[in-house]
Symmetry: C2
Subunit: 494 residues, 2 copies
């Protein structure tokens, strides 16, 4: 068999894996949005069967042979061969039964978490989480190699090439700036503004759809549904987002939609020629989050876009809940040490992540027992945010990730924020009339810029390299801190 | 390895196959109800990847070894081993690429069929159907054995043990009775009654839900959505039905819902101890259809149930569209040689099936080219129904089956009608107050009777045997013809 024939067979197998991964995503979306209440136990078996099929394909000796035979491939093909190697190496280290158990436990975990969150009762979730943590520790042990610890092996699944030691260094540089900024804002003692009024759910969802359109989301290749946790799933011609609605405050719905639209436009903009192949997939979760946070924050909470949003809210609700666009901008950028990560302001957001990073690392290392997690969460929250967590719903039960077995995922959010800071600075450089475009709700130039530099490049470069080439230098946290400093200077005259 | 260990491993593999089959069903449901317009091409790859995973499991040599090792199993285990043998024998005959291509073509076929049906343009569907027919012929050639022709091998996938020769004999006995009855009804020249008024879609769907509840459908284990073609998919705790709405005539929505609820209550009533194993699956598509047709026709169009329905329609719409329950009963049993199978009266319905049976047999045999199908359809329809088909939408494009590759499926509908006739007669014998229960919309006793004799027995008996044990004798078409004769005597004083 020659290298070309080997690559063709390898590609066909990779596309099957890619298709099954999309099926796994659809099963999860369906569970969160459509599945009837009694479908949970079966759904866990569906997830396990699909995970087993993926594991069978990824760990097959034949895949290893084809990877060796196709090793002379060039360009995107070389990326596909290298990524196949990575996938294969990881899969062969995990026993088939563990791969199935992990998927089963994650699907069952969703149902238990949703019920426990609704009841704000961590105790009913703890046994399920204990099982998930035990399985993730077993997986981490399988994946750990010389020089790569268990947690880092999980992290590598979301952010290839990144280590927790590197994250420690990044977070150590970022944290003082955020704490200092939060302290200076708090010291000003300005009242925290909020919207007044009631904003009907249907009108919120209609406006969310309108905003998605403005940000380049193709509704012919996607849809919006309600779910407990906002999310984005799917790729290419079928990228679905979810949101949630609070009739007293449309910001949760609108900004979580902008966030998910950032993810969705990335997935819709991947290279169709590499569909379902690694080279045509997102570069990393950190890069993914850079797209969502850029849309939500640097663009969505900018003063000019708030002008556009004010007019749209007046049209949608009869009132925007504030007197003028400037007031809306202040509400959208209110700083307050709140309990909920997804609603956190840009100053506090990464402190949430650092806290989760430390807690989940301790869980995976076995240094923290699930039984002690709620207390550890509340203690750490008090230390970092100066507030006492009132209940598990607003504390340890707020996020979907651990119930879905996503350990090693949270820190990529902060990497995403750092990358978003860099991309925003580069956009300001390359799109001189950006503010005028934002004020008009015209994001075409932004989406075009991102499409060429990020979306269509898929996994062709390692994550940091991709951002570096897009912005013209190695990314670091300074762009994010500089952006935050300038914004809050202007807001609070610090 | 002893027989018990072999059976345990075999069961685990069968459950994986069962779970993947449910995933395939969900992909199809999602495609019909939720998928965005641009998702079709990917969905075909999803379907192909899941079909390949099923085929890999079902054709694996290891499955054959386990089947041999577990051959001493008893009771339900013996059924599971035997069904595994059947599955394995069929799978090893079909090349992996063909299995994937069939699933891919069926998923793509859905999209093309829906568009062609909407445009009533057979020519745009013909190339797709040609591809599907070619693949089905290839599959039939693989599956054919000595003494079992290609079409019969496809038929065997839906109705194990049934042959087209047997169907020819059954249809030859049934047909004259139906044609004679249709002729005598037409000769009476009674005007065909219809409902008057407009019936809002939301109220139709609410009433459809209410009827589902009355017929024992567990809404915690299911849901109702709109689709081009009414259908039922899933099993056990997640059984989803679809319907369609015509605001001028709620009968399409209401009776198609009763029909799908018949399928759904069967799936919800299977033995949980055998979940995802063959012994815990439906006995055959003919038995499945007996449940849906019994609910829709023998029960749903009965005079006492029409009394219940009249009151429910008055409550739902303000008016039932007719003066009284008796008039509603006459509308629900109007006889007319209409174009659409799913809306056909009970006299003409099986003539639709016989026509499709002959046409699809000719397609699979290569005796009829796809290019000639529309003309053959129209010619046959004129011969059997005495009416000229006005357009493809009301002709050759009306049904989903061929676009989904379901050749050999149609004739099971008539078997289902025959079985429904037998089950109805047995129910009248065993539930003496059946009419009073129908008048009250109380189907509990019916569902209990069916649950014990049909639903919970799954695939423990061959289809005919299952019906024979439920009713106390070998089933034939006489119960159906006797029921129809009595009903239309009463309606038309023949």
């Amino acid at each position: 068999m020659d290298a070309i024939a080997a690559f063709d067979e390898l590609s066909a197998r990779l596309r099957r894996i890619g298709a099954l991964e999309q099926v796994a995503g659809l099963l999860n979306w369906d569970q969160e949005t459509q599945m009837p209440p009694k479908g949970g136990a079966q759904r866990a078996e569906h997830a396990a069967a699909v995970a087993s099929a993926i594991h069978d394909l990824a760990s097959a000796p034949r895949l290893g042979e084809l990877i060796a035979l196709a090793s002379t491939a060039q360009g995107p093909d070389a990326v596909n061969v290298a990524e196949a190697g990575r996938l294969h190496r990881r899969a062969v280290r995990v026993p088939p039964a563990l791969a199935a158990d992990l998927a089963r436990a994650a699907a069952l975990g969703q149902e238990v978490w949703i019920a426990a969150r609704a009841a704000s009762d961590f105790a009913t979730f703890a046994p399920t989480l204990e099982r998930i943590v035990a399985l993730k520790r077993a997986e981490a042990d399988c994946l750990a190699e010389e020089g790569v610890g268990g947690y880092d092996a999980l992290l590598d699944g979301f952010e290839p090439g990144t280590t927790s030691a590197e994250l420690d260094r990044v977070f150590a540089r970022l944290r003082p700036g955020l704490v200092d900024l939060a302290g200076r804002i708090a010291a000003k003692g300005a009242p925290v503004p909020a919207l007044t009024g009631s904003f009907p759910a249907a009108a919120q969802l209609a406006l969310a759809r309108r905003l998605g359109e403005a940000f380049g989301y193709d509704w012919q290749a996607g849809r919006l549904d309600l779910a407990v946790h906002p999310s984005c799933s799917g790729s290419a011609g079928d990228v679905r987002i979810t949101t949630r609605v609070n009739e007293a405050d449309p910001q949760d719905c609108l900004y979580s939609t902008l966030h998910e639209v950032g993810h969705a436009v990335y997935e819709q903009g991947l290279d169709p020629a590499q569909a379902m192949l690694p080279a045509g997939m997102h570069a990393s979760m950190g890069v993914h989050e850079s797209q969502s946070r850029l849309f939500e924050n640097q663009l969505g909470r900018s003063r000019p876009f708030c002008g556009f949003l004010f007019a749209e809210m007046e049209r949608a609700f009869g009132t925007a809940g504030v007197a003028d666009a400037d007031a809306l901008w202040r509400v959208a950028n209110a700083v307050e040490p709140g309990f909920i990560r997804t609603e956190a302001d840009e100053v506090h957001y990464n402190l949430h992540i650092m806290m989760r990073f430390d807690l989940e690392r301790a869980l995976v290392a076995g240094a923290l027992a699930v039984g002690d997690l709620e207390a550890a969460w509340n203690e750490r929250f008090l230390a970092d945010f100066g507030r006492t967590v009132p209940d598990a719903r607003r504390g340890v039960l707020q996020d979907v990730h651990w119930s879905a077995g996503l350990f090693g995922y949270f820190p990529t959010y902060t990497l995403g924020n750092i990358y978003a800071g860099e991309l925003h600075a580069a956009l300001r450089r390359d799109v001189p009339d950006l503010d005028a475009r934002l004020a008009a709700g015209d994001l075409g130039a932004v989406v075009g810029w991102l499409g060429a530099r990020i979306h269509r490049r898929g996994r062709m470069l390692a994550p940091r390299r991709l951002i570096a080439e897009a912005v013209g230098h190695e990314p670091d946290e300074r762009a994010l801190l500089g952006y935050l400093e300038a914004k809050y200077q202007r807001l609070h005259d610090l």
